[in-house]
Assembly symmetry: C2
Homo-oligomer: 412 residues x 2
């Protein structure tokens, strides 16, 4: 099924500069799709460090297990990603596949198998024959080029309606460094073709442990704050690689809190937030981009749970799809989150207009005031739950007929 | 919007016998709907005991607060229910409304205000003028009749596509007693017109404390094991009244575990399960009734969480709507539940046919074997998660275009 491009997509694909030490290639291997690239390989120069964050699912895919097990080594020479088959819930055969791919690539690159990182997205439970990928390694290595970011972003797409990429620059150790990121995902979310995968590359010189801390910090308020349907993939993966080719390695760097990292850290945060929003904007069937801000919760964790409860509520999401400022459903979703909220102090704003306060409708609120906002593409719901100082901000999209179309007839 | 009757509805409304000590009347008050009864009053003879279970929402409606506060009194003389306005998130005005209704009814019936129980379902956040209800009390009392069960079940409907009722008999204290129940709800669920309300009446003679224990036990595996969209109403209410008119009060009754209660308890369980299934079968837009059974979990609570995670997964529900035996989404939903599950021991059956075991697809499984089951109305998914002895069984419905139609254009 071909889907129309999300109305929430950015106007254009950004121009991504090369990253010294990174070369990219994509190939058509026919794992599942025809006439499109479905395997991406990024070759990384020796000395590249690696960091990663993975799905919290208890039934993780074989490639996720592989990456998590090898992250401790701290170095990477390649990342290989395929679309069309998630290699998840594939038992021992799945482990054999990732091992075979890693060994073949390591042999070719003369590195350790543990330096080959992998990610897969696609159908769950179908064995993935490693030959599709190993058979393409020669071609991929031969064709690898620093300037193939658009092809790379396209090769990892599944139900995505647009390719996702972002680039930022920062100063680090007296050098200007670049961070490029590509992502795929039409939600947090789906176990089939809608897993979220993110690959970030930089020419900065950073030890793996510091890189990991910076990445984890950047992922929490961005990729961990988006949701499409509350479903969690077996394969969600964020991997970051730092080639060090820009030079400027910091001496005596011991902590991710080192003031010299500030600019880089901020740039990475910006990139992650941008890519995360692109994923939510490509939520399956999305017509509206929804921002939920919770303040006044017992603590930040409670605020996050409340925000996610609102963001994942099918009733809130269908109301917004219907351009209905149905704040009663927001009250319901706050109530069901199970976190402290003082009903008689609840305050709800939609599009900056107060609709409810002191436990009831704002007497001055008129639905007509809010209609222009509800008819827009970016809906903002702010709620203070009147308990403490905890806050959280999350992003999602509305729930439309196209979500049902996409997911109700997906495999057949 | 008028909705076609759910294809999962029972063939006919059951014949409910009178319950000695209970008289019913319904009135058209015009709170929201036109040309249909929207207020139900059940008059209860002196000596009637009461028990109740309520929503776990942290933003409960004024009538729920009222009922919970008065349950301790243990006796009831009337229950008054209105459809069209939930009297939820209505601040002090909401409290004033329930108080006014209780006082007016108590005055009329010459009882305490705390013996008047109430429930409301409908729009959230709109003030409910008590005059609609108090103005009808005279007519309701005058017209009350023991034989109005069908009218009663109709009067409390909102987005329901069929009225829900059940009757059972049991032996208690040497007498044959009757239990009648009526319910409304198109889900657990929605905060607008889809709250679940259940009213159970019996002529058995049981103290309020014992009644409460029996009711809580019956509610846990039934009403607490159904879900439509995971959304929790501010107003969910189950109230049970025992008039004692059948006689046969048990002497020396101290515990709900007393063997003499066994038959009654079992009959009550059956009635609650029947009504709960009717609610799930009237889930908004439902085309399929889905049963999820989890075994092998760490404990029953863990099993329940896993079962609810599967039952609430939009991806599982849309797959079933599409008649797609997409067990990969079941794996995903188990993984995201956050409870222990051994991936390589997972076993999944759909319609009694093993589709996956030992952490991968069953080699002998063919999708065609399962198609007749997927095309049916009652879908059964059984999963063993390979950890311990915990088990749970829950019921839900599929997620279809009609859910979006109903909820995306509800208020407008």
């Amino acid at each position: 099924m071909a889907h129309q491009v999300s109305p929430l997509a950015p106007a254009a694909f950004p121009e991504l500069p090369p990253i010294a030490g990174v070369r990219l290639a994509a190939a058509e291997t026919g794992i599942r799709y025809k006439n499109r690239p479905d395997v991406l390989m990024a070759l990384l120069d020796p000395g590249t460090t690696v960091a990663g964050c993975f799905t919290m699912s208890k039934s993780r895919s074989a490639p996720v297990d592989w990456c998590a097990a090898n992250l401790g080594g701290g170095s990477a020479r390649a990342v290989i990603i395929n679309a069309g088959n998630a290699n998840a819930f594939t038992g021992k055969a799945g482990v054999a596949t990732v091992t075979a791919v890693a060994k073949a690539a390591a042999h070719q690159l003369k590195c350790k198998a543990g330096e080959i990182f992998q990610a897969s997205t696609g159908v769950i439970g179908e064995p993935l024959n490693p030959d599709f990928i190993t058979g393409a390694l020669g071609q991929l290595a031969a064709e690898a080029d620093p300037d193939r970011w658009s092809a790379a972003a396209h090769a990892i797409m599944t139900t995505d309606t647009f390719p996702k990429a972002c680039t930022v620059k920062a100063k680090l150790g007296g050098k200007t460094v670049t961070i490029n990121g590509i992502a795929k995902g039409s939600g947090m979310i789906a176990p089939d073709m809608a897993t979220m995968l993110v690959f970030i590359f930089t020419d900065a010189a950073l030890p793996a442990k510091i890189l990991q801390k910076l990445l984890t910090r950047a992922v929490n308020p961005s990729f961990n704050c988006i949701t499409v349907d509350g479903d969690t993939s077996t394969s969600d993966t964020v991997l970051m690689f730092a080639t060090g080719a820009a030079g400027g390695a910091l001496t005596g760097l011991r902590s991710a809190d080192d003031a010299r990292l500030k600019g880089f850290s901020k740039a990475l945060d910006t990139l992650c937030m941008d890519l995360a929003h692109q994923v939510a904007r490509d939520g399956e069937g999305a017509e509206k981009f929804i921002e939920i801000a919770i303040t006044g919760a017992e603590n930040d964790k409670a605020a996050h749970r409340i925000a996610m409860s609102v963001a994942n509520s099918p009733l809130v999401k269908t109301a917004i799809a219907g351009e209905d400022a149905n704040w009663g459903r927001v009250v319901m979703a706050i109530g069901k989150a199970g976190e402290k909220a003082i009903r008689d102090k609840l305050k709800i704003k939609i599009g900056g207009i107060t609709v409810a306060k002191n436990g009831m409708r704002d007497p001055s609120y008129k639905e007509s005031d809010i209609m222009p906002h509800m008819k827009g593409r970016h809906i903002v719901i702010e709620t203070d739950v009147g308990v403490g100082k905890g806050k959280s901000r999350v992003w999602t999209c509305d729930l439309t007929h196209r979500y049902i179309d996409i997911n109700g007839s997906y495999r057949s």
